[in-house]
């Protein structure tokens, strides 16, 4: 019932559509803030395409690059999603495809396609705190962390941001004890997250460094993940972003693992 109420409020908020809605004198409830942040960051549009470049620097400053094309399709806002990631670089992974059918609250289905062997592998559900392709981002940073997995607390409201403290409901399942989230009051985009370890030391920071409005949607186009304890960082840049291309649901099937769709080309 409570959930329904929030959806109603959300609907109303979306209906008024004024991006400055968050700037009113009224401060939304924390549940609404986190839900809107989740939608803004991971569910913008009905589908999404971007070319993603990750520059991974280790503690010694050595750099590695990952280049991939990402396709995303939402089945329901805040609910099921499908991801298709086609790797262009480095050369040894070119043509590899990673596909996810994401089910919040359930197990995701994941596939990996290895072109040299024409092999479609099914991948066991993994710890979502595992590094994504060797970068300083984890899987959850890429596809979103279930908002129900943490308890959220609004600790501060500044002129520009809501500050949330999020604490995992199941601390044993994650490597952090809590994280602080900066959410833009206008766009509701989460623009910074700082993670604290079990000794309550800050050890990890993710920051949106550039936001652009693309097809009327505030969109993160560059973000940085830093390992503050061990050193090293990854900068991710998103280019060629398009929303609502009408990406067909069949793209997210075995057919297009074995034969990449036109959408991964320019």
């Amino acid at each position: 019932m409570k959930n329904l109420l929030w959806r109603l409020i959300l609907l109303l908020a979306a209906g008024t559509a004024a991006p400055a809605a968050g700037l009113g004198t009224e401060i939304p409830e924390v549940a609404e803030i986190i839900e809107r942040a989740n939608l803004a960051a991971y569910y913008a549009g009905d589908d999404y395409r971007a070319e993603v470049t990750m520059t991974i620097s280790d503690a010694q400053g050595r750099k590695r690059e990952r280049e991939l094309v990402m396709l995303r399709r939402d089945l329901t806002d805040g609910g099921e999603q499908k991801f298709y990631l086609y790797f262009n670089k480095p050369g040894d992974v070119r043509g590899m495809v990673f596909m996810v059918h994401k089910r919040p609250g359930g197990e995701d289905d994941r596939w990996l396609y290895l072109p040299a062997l024409d092999l479609v592998r099914r991948i066991a559900a993994s710890d979502k705190r595992t590094s994504f392709v060797g970068s300083h981002f984890v899987y959850e940073d890429v596809s979103g962390r279930g908002i129900e997995e943490d308890t959220h607390e609004l600790v501060e409201t500044t002129d520009s941001h809501f500050l949330l403290k999020s604490t995992p409901r199941n601390p044993a399942a994650v490597e952090f004890s809590s994280y602080t989230l900066w959410i833009d009051r206008v766009t509701f985009l989460p623009v910074k997250a700082e993670y604290y370890d079990r000794q309550d030391r800050l050890y990890r920071r993710i920051e949106a460094e550039a936001v652009e409005t693309i097809q009327d949607r505030p969109t993160i186009v560059r973000s940085r993940a830093q390992d503050l304890a061990g050193g090293g960082e990854t900068v991710t840049e998103f280019t060629g972003i398009r929303y609502d291309l009408g990406i067909d649901d069949t793209i997210f099937t075995e057919r297009y693992l074995r034969r990449p769709p036109a959408e991964v080309r320019r």
Binding site: D92, D118, A124, E254
Partner: protein
């Protein structure tokens, strides 16, 4: 041309790694063309037997390989060429081999056609195959070439049809594509006629199936997802992929006719992935099992489970069964080195990623409690940069008897190391 090849490979081997990574070896007119893509690698690797083999050289692997991978993307079609130039110091030969030359296009929205030389894989096994009757290269697998080379190319027409209810793959090969089997030239093997191990002293001769349209193969797969579970049924009409028959007059190995029918399912199970697959091997030239020179009918069964054990550590186990049919009739004519009615095999795989996933430690083991033999594949691979990688590993065979599947290769146990530069 043959004289030129070693020169060309050496030239590429020397020059390609010297080009700065930012430039690669892609000529600028290629890099600029949006629909044309050229990639590849140079790979040098060497391996040696851990013990001596009276029938083979001590060096099991010594080669430099250049692979070029060209893709040409058009509106409704993709043309692909992937070819290798290999300078092989074990055989003292230079070779050019095309791995893929094919055209992929969609004549209708629900149809994909891939025509030409290609690599094909289906089925649910991990380094075990029940319904995947596409050619393998066991020699490459056993000597430590990259795992890509376990799959040998096939010249086929593959048509895929996609419907709501079911998807269909039809693969037609006008001429039989056999597997590369262990013939004694590089790896020693058990020779049942000599009743001893043999190698370069007795290189097996096979009678190729090469009559166009007559020695043709046909493979079929129907598949669909039911929820998160992938299900498939398979059919194959062709020949045993390794020579499982012998002509008594000439002692040539032959490829008897074979049909296979099977099914598989794969899906999430206990926070991991479980798979099950079965196949009935109908050995058409020896259905009653009375011909000792042709392999009998078999039922094959495979079950596996994979799970992430910890962050960056994955483990998997498989059970595999070959159950010979009409065993009594086989037993009557088989000699001392007769196979068992049931061949059970279990496998274990552990994969550990370290150092930001740039270091991969991998271990794969086959063990057969019935044959009392096994095969271990440890490997270590480190990506020094995005371009450079080094790799080392082993292929360790063991067994109580000389005639069992893995036991016969005991003297071929080897260690290898290699370096690769991608561009």
């Amino acid at each position: 041309m043959k004289r030129l090849l070693p020169f060309l490979i050496t030239l590429f081997g020397l020059l390609a790694p010297a080009v700065p990574p930012a430039v690669g070896v892609t000529p600028s007119w290629l890099a600029d063309a949006d629909d044309l893509e050229l990639r590849g690698f140079v790979d040098a690797r060497a391996g040696a037997r851990t013990g001596s083999d009276p029938y083979e050289k001590d060096v099991s692997l010594a080669e430099t390989r250049l692979q070029l991978d060209l893709n040409w993307f058009k509106e409704r079609a993709v043309f692909k060429f992937k070819g290798d130039l290999v300078g092989d110091a074990v055989t003292d030969k230079a070779e050019a081999a095309a791995r893929e030359i094919n055209l992929l296009f969609s004549p209708l929205d629900f149809v994909d056609v891939k025509l030409g030389r290609q690599i094909l894989t289906w089925g649910t096994g991990d380094l075990l195959f029940v319904n995947d009757l596409f050619p393998k290269d066991w020699e490459s697998f056993f000597v430590g070439r990259d795992s890509e080379y376990l799959k040998a190319p096939a010249d086929v027409l593959k048509t895929s049809l996609f419907f709501e209810a079911v998807n269909i793959d039809l693969v037609y090969a006008p001429v039989f594509n056999g597997s590369i089997f262990i013939d004694g030239s590089r790896l020693s093997y058990w020779n049942p006629n000599l009743e001893r191990l043999a190698g370069r002293d007795f290189i097996l001769a096979d009678r190729e199936r090469n009559r166009f349209l007559k020695d043709s193969e046909f493979a079929l797969r129907l598949y669909r997802n039911i929820g998160s579970v992938e299900t498939a049924i398979y059919g194959y009409s062709g020949f045993w992929k390794t020579p499982e028959g012998m002509d008594p007059a000439t002692a040539d190995l032959t490829y008897p006719r074979l049909n296979v029918w099977g099914a598989s399912a794969r899906g999430p199970f206990l926070a991991g992935i479980a798979n099950i697959e079965t196949g009935y091997y109908d050995s058409r030239e020896d259905r009653d099992g009375g011909d000792p020179l042709v392999r009998n009918n078999e039922i094959r069964l495979l079950a596996g489970f994979e799970k992430e054990l910890a962050v960056n550590l994955t483990g998997s186990v498989q059970y595999y069964l070959e159950w010979m049919q009409k065993y009594d009739r086989y037993r009557r004519t088989a000699g001392l080195s007769a196979r068992d009615e049931y061949r059970h095999v279990v496998t274990l795989r552990l994969t550990r990623l370290l150092l930001n996933q740039n270091l991969t430690l991998s271990f794969f083991a086959y063990y057969s409690p019935t044959d009392e033999d096994g095969y271990l594949r440890p490997s270590i691979r480190y990506k020094i940069t995005d371009q450079w990688a080094v790799e080392g590993g082993g292929n360790i065979f063991f067994g109580n008897a000389d005639h069992t599947f893995f036991g016969q290769f005991e003297n071929n146990s080897n260690l290898y190391a290699g370096v690769r530069r991608n561009f």
